[in-house]
Symmetry: C2
Subunit: 360 residues, 2 copies
């Protein structure tokens, strides 16, 4: 099987590595940036590197376009023009509606949009890995014009790369991503903006910001290039979600101002339950338990805990460290899936002399 990868960064490079290793495919690459071509070859992400789209796609059965979202429409149309009439062409962009609409109708038979949910935290071909997509959801957005044969080939290829393909229509994809990914980014930006404004208004300095502020704003201003493209290409869905959140906040303000303790309590408790349910969808190992403990924030403390859990085969699903203002002590939250596992983890941590509280 022959695969072409256009754009050899983190995602393109990882597709190349996985296709070579897991599919035994012959992988041909192209990147508009000569330095990226060189790095991609050095890292052996492809078998051959070409200096043109046409060279790379020749004879390929599946063509992956792995450029930034803004560059995709042009790259995809060049890939469609240069590739065999039997080749499936796909992409890996974070938004799908605008892109699918931009593809000429006759080309929609061979172009099927895609979006792997992987790699968002790092970038660059130097982080490419053959197992980047292992177990990851990979959305495909076929339309009524899509070739059944090519869709079948594409979804099998993606499954062979180790991912879990799922068809979804482009608009639904964009709306769902707006809710669980794009909106949190906008909210983080707004929170930071508001705190900065308060800090400017007050003659007093802002109080040391707590862990809630750290967590809630962690993604503020994330990767400006990527996010500029996402906001641009999914702007209607994102704007709608942001407006809905604005309205919900207005309602929350009213509720809090009313002082109705019972309703406030019900609203707050429901949030706790909702979050648990939403996150548990992801977990194989059962319900999520949180272990909280206070530790000295000296080098080695967290390691000692993680290592002891590791030796016992307990997997840490999620983790957060909240340093105290002095940076010498802090609280650690560890999330562990399954109640037996949580109990075992708590025993181990207690054995190291820490006080642990466990909650669902």
């Amino acid at each position: 099987m022959r695969i072409a990868v256009l754009g050899v960064g983190l995602i393109g490079g990882s597709i190349g590595l996985a296709a070579k290793r897991r599919l035994g495919a012959e992988v041909c690459g192209f990147d508009p940036d000569p330095a990226a071509r060189e790095h991609g070859l050095e890292r052996q992400t492809v078998d051959r590197m070409e200096d043109s789209v046409a060279g790379a796609v020749e004879g390929a059965e599946v063509v992956f376009c792995a450029a930034p979202v803004a560059a995709l429409p042009d790259l995809i149309s060049r890939a469609l023009a240069a590739s065999d009439q039997e080749a499936a062409v796909t992409d890996v962009g974070s938004t799908k509606g605008t892109l699918v609409q931009a593809v000429a109708k006759p080309d929609q038979e061979r172009f099927i949009g895609g979006h792997p949910l992987a790699g968002a935290e790092t970038a660059g071909v130097e982080n490419a890995r053959a197992d980047l997509f292992e177990g990851a959801r990979w959305y495909l957005t076929p339309t009524e014009r899509s070739s059944g044969v090519l869709y079948d080939r594409l979804q099998r290829t993606i499954s062979d790369l180790g991912a879990r393909p799922q068809a979804i229509d482009a608009e639904t994809h964009d709306r769902l991503m707006a809710t669980v990914s794009h909106l949190p980014h906008v909210i983080a930006n707004v929170l930071v903006q508001q705190a900065a404004a308060a800090s400017a208004e007050e003659s007093e300095r802002l109080p040391e910001v707590g862990p809630s502020f750290r967590d809630t704003t962690r993604v503020a201003g994330a990767n400006p290039l990527v996010w500029g493209d996402i906001f641009a290409t999914n702007r209607d869905a994102v704007a709608r979600e942001v407006e809905a959140a604005s309205e919900r906040l207005r309602e929350a303000a009213e509720l809090i101002r009313s002082g109705d303790a019972k309703r406030v309590g019900a609203w707050h408790g429901a949030a706790r339950e909702h979050r648990r349910r939403l996150l548990e969808v992801d977990l194989a190992g059962g319900e999520l338990y949180e272990l909280r403990l206070s530790v000295e924030n000296r080098p080695g403390t967290v390691a000692e805990i993680a290592l002891a859990l590791g030796r016992a085969g307990v997997n840490i699903e999620d983790m957060a460290l909240y340093p105290a203002p002095d940076m010498r002590t802090g609280a650690v939250s560890l999330w562990v899936a399954g109640d037996d596992e949580a109990e075992r983890a708590a025993d181990i941590v207690r054995g190291l002399g820490h006080n642990v509280s466990v909650s669902r």
Copy 2:
């Protein structure tokens, strides 16, 4: 010196331990819950445990009221009635305006509100530690009626406990806390609510939620008892902040819908800068650098990294683990203060065979 602690949980117990160890004070405790009295004694958080407020405050120079916010007005008035006319009475509640107003005018000479920014992540006397307040900001809210002698004694006592006392008027305190702590909690609740609503509307299942959703909603539905009291006693300031955030989101929606890439980019970039500045206020060791790396999420990997950094004396200021959907791989972000330290940390992690990208 004699200290009274009314309410022997995490905060009260830690005050007792610190007062015994660091001030060499004689500490007398009271808790309305007989079991809490027993645990407090077992943990040696106090020298003596009394079964009445009057017994505990007898002869005390400083009385700490460490009950839940809703129970404070009553506890404080009992403490004021029973204690010496020379005793300072203070509390540790998360909100201050409502409380300070509830204290009878003549009593305001001896009552000075307080709020240590510590211990929010855990609860219970079993987590009490003598060093809980080490380096922590401890707000005091004196009024024009406060006795100068008692304020001086109180702030010296708090400083001797290891904390950093700072005077602030009660209204400003509540407004600032609403911005950097209470608002993020409301926003987390609203985000979760919105995602749950989307999940119910869509026939498709919600996509696996990403790290941005995890981070932004980490505090959703946190500790319902504590947060019910906070929303109740700081409702005007919280409602105002939530309304302001609602308005900012409305503006953000407009901006995103406009598709003005330049203005969107400026807004997004400003968020990045604001967050850095707001968080750096906390750090002693210089600017914060983020190290990102992909790792196998097998037990032991994170430990190996943390341990190697620990051996080299590098301190991890903050940390986030983003498991991939398969839970077998994941991305790790580590925050390290100071550029030399960040470079050294990156070298160490690279030495373990990981690819690391460093950004400010």
